[in-house]
Amino acid sequence: MFHQTPTRSVTLAIVLAGLVAYATFGGFFAREIVIEIAILAILAISLDFVAGFGGMVSLFHGAVMGLSAYGYSVLTAKFGIHPIPAAFAGIFMAATFGAAVAAIASRTSGIFFIMATLAFGQMLYTVIFKSRWLGGDDGMGGIPRFDASWIGLDFNDSLQFAIFAVFGIAVCYGVAALLLRSAFGRTMCGIHGNEPRMRALGVSTWKHKTAAFAISSAIAGIAGIFAAQHTQYISPELLFWTVSGEVLIVVILGGLGTLVGPVLGAAVFVLLKHEVGNYTNHWHIVIGLLLIVTVMAGGRGIYGQLEHWLAGKYAKAREGLNA
C-alpha cells in the first residue's frame, strides 16, 4: 500500500531541487544530463506504478515511450499539427497500446507476463525499424519543441527546457502518487497482494490491471514527448527492449515500490554513466556492481535501504524512550 511519507516528500524535493540547481549552474552539458535524467525518471515512475505497486513487471515500457515519441513526431514534423494536440495524441496512442497489450498479457502472470510484454514491445520496434515512411533505422528529424512564448518562455533555451523537464517529473510523480492513494490505486495494491481473493471480493482484476497499464503507459508517453523534443530527432533505438531493461534496472536500483526511489535511481544512473564514462567506456561495470550490492543488501534499492535504515533508527529511539 502506498504512503506519501515525509521522508519521501523530502527526498523528492531534494532530488528535484538538486536537478534545478545543477541545470542552472552547471552549464550546457549539465542541462543535457538533467533532461536525460528527467526522461528516465518519468519512465521509471510509470514502470514503478505497475511493477512496484501492481506487481506487473514489464519489458515494453521503452516501446511505449517510443510509440508516443513517434506519434508526436509524425504528427508535428510530417503533418504540421500543433505540438500540444500532437503531444496529447502521442500520449493517447501510448495508453491505447499499453492497455491493448495488458488486456492480452494480464491473462498470464509472472515470467509469462514479462515475456508477453517483451514480445509486443519488440514487435512494435520491428514495425517502426522496417518502415521507410517513418525513416526506418535512420530515424526522423525536424521535431519541434513546445512553443511557450505565450507565457514568456522559450523551450529552445536549454536551461528553460531542462527546468520544464524537471517540472515534468514533479507532475508525473504527483499524478502517480494521487492515483496510488485513490480507490483505484488501493485496489491495484490489493490485486498485487492477493489477486484471487480480490476477485472473490468482487473486483474484475483483469479490467483493473488493463486500466492500470493504460495509466502507466500514458505516463511513459509523457516521457516519450520529452524524449522527442529533447533531441528533436528520434530513432527506433528508443523502442528497443534494452531501454525497457535499463529502466527496470533504474527502478530496482532506486527502490521498487517506493515511487521516489526510481526518481533517485534515474539521477544516480545517468550521473554515474556520465561521470564514469569520462574515464572508461565500461561504465556498465560500475552500475552492475552497484546493482549487485543493492540487491545483496536486501533488494530494497538505494532509497528503500535509506527508508529501512531510518525505520530502524526510529524504532531504536522509541525503545530508548520507553526504557
Binding site: 500500500m1 480507490a183 488501493r186 497482494g193 492477493n194 471480493l201 468482487g202 483493473h208
Partner: protein, 248 residues
C-alpha cells in the same frame, strides 16, 4: 434465495459432485456436513465460480448465475470465507477490511478519491472489526497476527463486502474450544436476513446454528433435514462413527 439444481462436477473420471440439488430460503442458516473428501469445498468452489460445473444450474433469486465469473457473482451478493486463510498478508488488518468493504461498495475505480477514507468504508471496517472481535489489532500487519485472529479476519473479509449470501468454509478449522464458542456467537449474531451456508466439522456448533443440515458423502446429498432430524438419522451416525460404506 440460493438454489442449486442437479449440479455435477467431475475431474476426469472422478465425480466429486453428483447431482446435488438444494434450495435455501432467505435468511436460512444451512450447515453442510460430511467427512473429508465428501466434496464440500468443491461445492463451495462451484457456488462462487472458482470451478465451473460439468452440468447443472445455480440460481440467486430465480436468476441463473452459472455463467457469471467469480467477481460478478460476488457483486450479485455472494461472499465466501476460505478453509485456509486467504488474506492480504503484507497489509494491516484495517487495510484488509477496507479493501473488502470498498470492493463490496464498488468503490474501486475512483481515480482521485481514497476509498480508505470514505465514511461508508470506514464504518463497515469498524462494524466488521467489532463483529469478529479484532478491533484491538486493526493497525497490526496481518503477518504478525495470531492464527486465531487471522481466522477471524478471514470471516471478516467475507462479511465486509456486505453480502446477501455468506458461505463459510470451516470457520473454526484449527482453532480451540474458546474460539469455537466465539464463532458460535458471531454466527448467531449475524443479521437474520443474511443467508448463511457453513461447512463445519464441529457438530455442536453445527447443530446450534443450523436451521437445516445437508449431509454430503462422496459427492452425493445423502440427507437433508432439521438438526433434530439429523441427530436421530442412522446414515449420519454411520458416517460420523466411521463405518459408512458407499454401497452399504
Amino acid at each position: 434465495m440460493l438454489e442449486v439444481r442437479n449440479l455435477c462436477k467431475s475431474f476426469g473420471g472422478l465425480e466429486v459432485t453428483k447431482n446435488v440439488s438444494f434450495a435455501l430460503e432467505p435468511g436460512e442458516r444451512r450447515v453442510i456436513l460430511g467427512p473429508n473428501g465428501a466434496g464440500k469445498t468443491t461445492l463451495f468452489n462451484l457456488l462462487v465460480g472458482e470451478l465451473l460445473p460439468s452440468s447443472g444450474d445455480i440460481l440467486i433469486d430465480g436468476a441463473s448465475i452459472t455463467g457469471l465469473s467469480v467477481d460478478q457473482r460476488a457483486l450479485a451478493g455472494m461472499s465466501r470465507s476460505y478453509q485456509k486463510n486467504n488474506l492480504f498478508e503484507d497489509l494491516t488488518v484495517r487495510e484488509n477490511l477496507a479493501l473488502a468493504a470498498s470492493a463490496g461498495l464498488s468503490k474501486t475505480r475512483w481515480l482521485a478519491r481514497d476509498s480508505f477514507h470514505d465514511p461508508e468504508v470506514r464504518s463497515i471496517v469498524q462494524d466488521v472489526a467489532q463483529q469478529v472481535a479484532i478491533t484491538d489489532i486493526l493497525d497490526a500487519p496481518v503477518h504478525s497476527a495470531s492464527y486465531g485472529n487471522r481466522r477471524q479476519l478471514e470471516v471478516g473479509l467475507a462479511l465486509a463486502t456486505r453480502p446477501k449470501i455468506l458461505l463459510m468454509d470451516e470457520p473454526t478449522s484449527g482453532v480451540g474450544p474458546g474460539m469455537i464458542s466465539a464463532f458460535n456467537q458471531l454466527i448467531s449474531g449475524l443479521p437474520r436476513e443474511l443467508t448463511v451456508v457453513i461447512i463445519e466439522h464441529d457438530l455442536d456448533l453445527a447443530f446450534d446454528v443450523a436451521d437445516r443440515i445437508t449431509v454430503l458423502n462422496y459427492g452425493d446429498v445423502v440427507f437433508e433435514g432439521t438438526p433434530a432430524e439429523t441427530r436421530g438419522n442412522q446414515i449420519v451416525r454411520d458416517i460420523y462413527l466411521g463405518d459408512w460404506q458407499a454401497d452399504a
